[in-house]
Amino acid sequence: MAETMSPPKSRLLDGPRGSKPKSRFSRRNIFLYGTLLLVSVYYLLPLYVMVVTSLKGMPEIRLGNIFAPPVDITFEPWVKAWAEACTGINCDGLSRGFGNSIKILVPSVALSIAIASVNGYALANWKFKGSEVFFTILIIGAFIPYQTMIYPIVIMLREIKLMGSLWGLVLVHTVFGMPILTLLFRNYFTSLPEELFKAARVDGAGFWGIYFRVMLPMSIPIFVVAMILQVTGIWNDFLFGVIYTKPETYPMTVQLNNIVNSVQGVKEYNVNMAATLLTGLVPLIIYFVSGKLFVRGIAAGAVKG
């Protein structure tokens, strides 16, 4: 079969040597794609199971197997998870946690990015004596287990009367987001041509002028990366939420855990899965929409600068 495809001998006296390019169904490819597909199944299975479970009624769950698609699709569990599920004495569903999470998320993301970007800019372009030392401490601090800092922060928040409030948690997220974000921005601003900064100085722009008029407009992509990083990170946080807020201000992850792992009442697996999906929805949407930028964000911590 391959012989007929070769060029006429008159044009190439010696045919090409070596093995033919492999066909699409070579053993190598079957192995390669087979493995990848198999692994994909492992990765997709939990999402699939969650979705089908959340669309079934409880009787169907008790009878059937978790992999079977729902016979009677019902959105009842979703409604219940959102508006009726109970945590303790409150039975207004996950909607409250969602609201809390949004209220925590927006100021945390804005504040942490504003502070870290200016900070990274100062570190990249306006080094002063000791600036690198503080930055090194900050980066080392990122490796310290949160557990060793949690209680002193409780005391500090109490001192400034923010313990248990949303703003206290916003502050905590700003502090703990600072190492990675500062690193991200510092590396980005360092990668911009230094001559641009010099040109702006010759043009008479100062610290803030260069930041707002020259650097900021050039750095939209890195701000988006930082935003993705922070939105998913803060949304997914459990530890700080459970420690620094009170039940009325619990973020969604904490409330979700309380709903699903509550020991009272009959377990409603379909509602639980709907609630779990609801909580995972925000980061999932961000992930699927942002694509490469998400990857860039998480890789930012891994590349040294």
Binding site: A199, V202, D203, G204, A205, M218
Partner: protein, 362 residues
């Protein structure tokens, strides 16, 4: 001394990064309207010096005067300088017009005045059709014109250029070089120009400062630099192919190296001619004479041709003279080939003699 004739003065300038001394007790006077080129290989401190003059680097010690003002600690924008960078450094999100007017806006120049100056700069550099475009839509040459325009609108006395042509391809570089020369003749400002390209330096400069290790090795006109290098470093740095350097002895009125003795009748010593001294003689490839010209001089030697490089306009010949390698430049049509033995003559009146230990010109 009349200070007003000097546009930029650098006094005892020191710049250290930790233990590294980038500039050492550097002094230089740059005249009003002069085109001064700072030339040297990378790491010699030429860009650092320019950045110090611009105020973009804090000096460790010493003083900088521009137009008689001590500006050592003044902000870059207050020094009366304009600067053009190697990478053009145009603000990518602003239009050409925005780039040109950014500095003026920062200085709160009235709008009408900004428009006037931008229009004038655009006219001088012939970039009017580009004013509404963003830098991304411009070619390299156009970008560099805009960058020059940004310095132009500032209406300053001193222009600083940091390797402005290095990012352009060879053809454009030649064109813009001529244009820069024309611009200098038209504007008559002081221009300080950093480059590592000796052709740029020779063609543009009124004076060249050759730097090495944070010091100025020689400051002089292109002619002086080329024909009367003050030390071995400058002699070897300028000229392509490089000057032939032969180590030997001055004995009486002759330079003697193994198997070679060159009468020094026509050579102009700086001081008195030494009677006996270890020395190095430097002879440019074009001053190694061949054919009839060789026959007419007293200093002659026979060499063996090893490599012939045809350049079209000339022929570059690498030959061996005893243990020395000798580069010589011959006519483009020369038929000499590897293995030939030819007689060469040396024009010692145009040679350079250096003290073998201090490396300074004799």
């Amino acid at each position: 001394m009349n200070m007003n004739a000097n546009s930029v003065e650098v006094r005892d300038l020191d710049l250290h990064f930790g233990d590294v001394k980038v500039l050492q007790k550097l002094n230089i006077d740059i005249h009003e309207g002069e085109f001064l080129v700072l030339l040297g290989s990378s790491g010699c401190g030429k860009s650092t010096l320019l950045n110090c003059i611009a105020g973009l680097l804090d000096v460790t010690d010493g003083q900088i005067f521009i137009k008689g003002d001590n500006v050592t600690w003044a902000e870059p924008s207050d020094r009366g300088i304009g600067m053009v960078f190697q990478s053009y450094a145009l603000y990518p999100q602003m239009t050409v017009e925005g780039n040109l007017s950014f500095g003026l806006k920062n200085a709160r120049v009235p709008k009408a005045e900004i428009e006037k100056r931008v229009a004038r700069a655009a006219d001088v550099l012939q970039i009017e059709p580009l004013l509404k475009r963003k830098p991304g839509a411009l070619s390299g040459g156009q970008r560099q014109r805009v960058a020059i325009g940004r310095a132009l609108v500032r209406d300053v006395d001193v222009f600083l250029f940091d390797e402005p042509l290095s990012n352009l391809d060879a053809k454009l570089r030649t064109d813009l070089r001529v244009e820069l020369k024309r611009l200098h003749q038209q504007l008559e400002n002081t221009m300080i120009y950093v480059t590592h390209d000796q052709v740029e330096a020779m063609t543009l400069a009124d004076r060249i400062a050759i730097m090495k290790g944070g010091k100025i090795m020689q400051l002089g006109t292109p002619d002086e630099i080329y024909n009367r290098p003050q030390n071995i470093y400058v002699a070897g740095f300028i000229g392509s192919p490089a000057m032939n350097m032969i180590e030997g002895q001055i004995q009486g009125a002759e330079f003697v190296a193994d198997g070679l003795s060159l009468p020094l009748d026509g050579y102009e010593f700086i001081g008195a001619a030494p009677a006996s001294q270890a020395a190095v003689i430097g002879i440019r490839p074009e001053h190694v004479l061949t054919g009839d010209a060789a026959a007419s001089v007293a200093a002659k030697a026979e060499v063996e041709v090893q490599i012939v490089e045809k350049l079209g306009s000339d022929t570059l010949v690498h030959a061996s003279l005893g243990t020395h390698n000798l580069r010589l430049r011959m006519d483009g049509l020369s038929a000499v080939k590897a293995g030939d033995r030819i007689t060469v003559g040396f024009d010692t009146s145009r040679a350079s003699l250096f003290d073998a230990s201090s490396e300074a010109r004799l």
